[in-house]
């Protein structure tokens, strides 16, 4: 009964979304206030209905209601409770429901907190947002309905894919979707602005926090996914350039570009049409990601089991929304009059450079991701585009970006003197080069990767510090520190995000360049040396788990005569899906991780054992989290708390810088 009501609520939400997509739009066009006012209650109703529907599906999973096809295919009574909850979105249909729920949540937020937006703009934004709901609710109801029943329910289900049975599943997809889908807000604002024919600082002040929030979630979601892969897949890889990872990375790069160009619109009323285009493209790439994951045209470890019918449906959605928005853009973008002029050397120009680098690097990832498809269509031959390509083609853009970022971030608006900014940064540059040189001379005959990573990392971190420090006056350290704490939060957010990027870059470069691995057969009681560590395989035992059997090893990691840690790597067999998984054991450290994996028992009685020393591994995720925190702090900046949507003259906004 409860489940059936959930199904009903889903259908009702579909009809509400149709109303919300049409009525306010007509109202805004004709200037009928009553029609425009439909948008807010409709947005709330849509969200409530979908929320109820989602709860109903969750209830079915938690109570193991095997009359639902989806629950049979993805659950089991023995599955731990956490995964009964998280398992709701561990499959195609359920994750789509989460997708539209978040879409409706963003729409509802715009309705709840958009009180100070102009009526007409708000009505249009909510209508556009709801038209996306219409498309995806139709997709769910007609091709991927989670509420389909089975006539004769079985006694038990087929269990969830064991690789997914991890805490990561509880957080990674929701965060990622908050990011992906959050970009729909920027899209709706962009399309609404095109319909209005006007973009001003107030518009940007609205779009920017939504984009920033989406970007923060996307950053956290991608970082979490990468960390999950790192400890779950059993060999400590953190990024594979898999099509689905790329699908989340492309919107992230575009969102980052959009964040920066929206600043220019907000503070200088320039780059307007470009910002609109970026907002459309950022969400477009979210949709492309959805298409890649769910259509099956591109093989990926992440892809849901899929059929071409769904792929075609999403392709049509993608075509309609991108085609429509871009046509509208072509027809209307000339109306956007840019106001602020700026010199060749200025913050604006630096941000244009930022946008070029981010957008092009994202397009490189895009071309690489779809190239197998293009090649097959063009020449009939299949081929692969893997990590070796992306590492070569993508990395230079990030190196370039990192190299110019600290200078660009400190250039004054409108007109700047490069020499003045550069002079202030010289000491930080010299220290960064010196650090890299030191490492270069210490390591023997290896690649330049490590030193370059260290240079970029420290240059970005010191540059971010300098950005705050050099604006703190010149009256002694105590006074400068005090002044630093009084800088606007958006400045702190910016510095943290840029510094975090540096830390991540250094982590990636360090891990890739200096990783050390050891693979061997070890007998029980045997001690062997890996790098500076002595590792002993103490014992191996078999233990039962809730829905798996486990082979657990105990391994002691010693350095000199000191015990660094005792680790318990596992190898699990999930009988229902007849699938083994490796659970690596990791001794997390500030400078390195010791990562151990236990393998199969050998014929002569030993065990296959892998040990990896992974330098700076945690820096990758620490940097990403710092980036996300920086974004979060920037979101709490005074101008969003106090002045969101208010029309202040531009001069005031620049003076606040």
């Amino acid at each position: 009964m409860f489940t059936e009501l959930g199904h009903f609520a889903l259908i009702l939400a579909f009809t509400v979304s149709i109303v919300q997509a049409i009525i306010p739009l007509i109202g805004a066009h004709k200037g009928w206030h009553g029609w425009m006012a439909v948008a807010e209650p409709a947005a709330t109703a849509q969200f409530m209905l979908l929320f109820y529907s989602f709860i109903a599906l969750t209830y079915a999973f938690v109570t193991s209601d095997f009359s639902l096809q989806l629950v049979v295919a993805n659950s089991h009574t023995d599955k731990p409770l956490l995964y009964k909850f998280a398992g709701v979105w561990g499959n195609h249909e359920g994750s789509m429901l989460l997708w539209v729920l978040i879409l409706a949540l963003f729409g509802a937020c715009a309705a709840w907190f958009g009180g100070n937006l102009p009526d007409r703009l708000r009505a249009r934004v909510l209508a556009v947002q709801s038209s996306i709901s219409v498309a995806f609710l139709a997709f769910i109801l007609f091709t991927s309905n989670p509420f389909l029943r089975i006539e004769q329910p079985p006694f038990n289900g087929q269990d969830l894919n064991p690789l997914l049975q991890d805490v990561g599943l509880a957080f990674h997809p929701p965060l990622l979707y908050l990011g992906y889908v959050g970009l729909s807000m920027s899209f709706s604002f962009a399309v609404a602005a095109l319909l209005e024919g006007r973009v001003d600082a107030a518009w940007a002040r609205w779009v920017r926090p939504w984009t920033l929030a989406a970007w923060v979630f996307l950053t956290a979601g991608i970082a979490l996914g990468s960390w999950w892969a790192y400890y779950e897949l059993g060999w400590g890889g953190f990024w594979f350039w898999d099509p689905v990872e790329n699908a989340s990375f492309m919107p992230w790069l575009f969102a980052a570009a959009l964040l920066h160009s929206a600043v220019v619109v907000e503070k200088r009323e320039s780059l307007k049409s470009w910002t609109i285009l970026l907002a459309i493209l950022a969400f477009g790439f979210s949709l492309i990601g959805t298409f890649l994951v769910r259509s099956g045209v591109i093989t990926s470890v992440h892809a849901f089991a899929n059929d071409p019918e769904r792929g075609v449906f999403i392709l049509i959605i993608l075509g309609v929304f991108m085609g429509g928005a871009l046509t509208l853009f072509a027809a209307r973008s000339h109306v956007m009059q840019a106001k602020g002029a700026f010199a060749m050397v200025s913050r604006e120009s630096a941000l244009v450079l930022n946008n070029v680098l981010l957008a092009v690097s994202s397009l490189v990832v895009f071309v690489g991701t779809i190239w197998p498809l293009v090649s097959e269509l063009a020449t009939g031959r299949t081929l692969s585009v893997g990590p070796p390509f992306f590492n070569v083609a993508f990395t230079p853009f990030m190196v370039l970006l990192g190299a110019v970022l600290p200078i660009g971030a400190m250039l004054p608006w409108k007109r700047a003197k490069l020499g003045r900014v550069a002079r202030g940064l010289i000491p930080y540059f010299v220290v960064s080069v010196a650090l890299a040189g030191l490492v270069w001379s210490l390591q023997t005959g290896r690649s330049l990767l490590g030193p370059i990573g260290l240079f970029l990392g420290s240059w970005l971190v010191f540059g971010a510090f300098a950005d705050l420090w050099l604006r703190s006056g010149r009256y002694g350290i105590a006074d400068r520190l005090k002044r630093m704490t009084r800088l606007p939060r958006s400045d702190w957010g910016k510095a943290l995000a840029h510094g975090g990027l540096g830390i991540t870059i250094f982590g990636v470069a360090g891990l890739t360049a200096w990783e050390h691995e050891d693979i061997r057969i070890a007998a029980i009681g045997e001690t062997f040396t890996v790098g500076q560590y002595e590792i002993t395989l103490d014992q191996v035992s078999e233990e039962p788990g809730p829905n798996y059997r486990s082979l657990i090893a105990q391994m002691t990691v010693m350095r000199g005569s000191r015990v660094e840690s005792v680790l318990y790597p596992e190898k699990r067999i999930y009988p229902v899906q007849a699938m083994p998984t490796t659970e690596a054991a990791i001794d997390n450290g500030f400078l390195r991780d010791v990562y151990v994996v236990i393998g199969d028992v050998q014929e002569n009685g030993g065990y296959a054992v892998r040990v990896y020393i992974k330098p700076l591994a945690n820096w990758i995720w620490a940097g990403s989290i710092i980036m996300a925190i920086g974004g979060g702090i920037s979101l709490t900046d005074r101008r969003y708390r106090v002045a969101a949507g208010a029309r202040k003259p531009v001069t005031n906004a620049t003076a606040a810088e």
Partner: protein, 148 residues
């Protein structure tokens, strides 16, 4: 030797299911082999290299790489061996030839276009600013801000 291993690859016997045994005694050769592992795709898996895949096929492919290296073949020859038998799908790094040149040069070409576009845009914006200088009012405000 090659034929025997090829036959074994087809039948994936458990004799080879010993991962640490795959390793070559010569560290230099093993390092080359591991670099090659990153370049070859496990054609029976979904977008994984033979270095990271646990599949039997990947395991056999790793052994094949090593036996070819022991025979004294160059890195290119090893990659060619896999490309011949399984098609270009087996290569994680697409060849720099034919249509693929477009893929390889997509980045630089797009950067060039982007840079040109940005250059013209910024130049147009900066020409508008040329005659304009800070007004006396602005100078005063600037001064008061700087003194703050």
């Amino acid at each position: 030797m090659k034929n025997i291993i090829l036959a074994l690859m087809l039948f994936a016997t458990p004799i080879w299911a010993v991962e640490p045994d795959e390793l070559l005694a010569d560290p230099a050769l093993e390092a080359r082999a591991q670099d090659l592992d990153e370049e070859i795709r496990c054609v029976q898996c979904v977008s994984e290299t033979i270095a990271s895949s646990n599949a039997d096929w990947a395991k056999d492919a790793r052994i094949m790489v090593r036996s070819l290296l022991i025979e004294g073949q160059s890195d290119e020859e090893v990659l060619e061996f896999f490309a011949e038998r399984y098609g270009d799908v087996a290569l994680m790094r697409p060849r720099r030839a034919g249509v693929n040149l477009l893929l390889w040069y997509a980045g630089p070409i797009m950067l060039l276009f982007g840079a040109f576009g940005a250059w013209f845009y910024v130049r147009r914006r900066s020409q508008e600013i040329q005659p304009e200088a800070l007004s006396t009012d602005e100078e005063k405000r600037l001064k008061s801000l700087l003194d703050d």
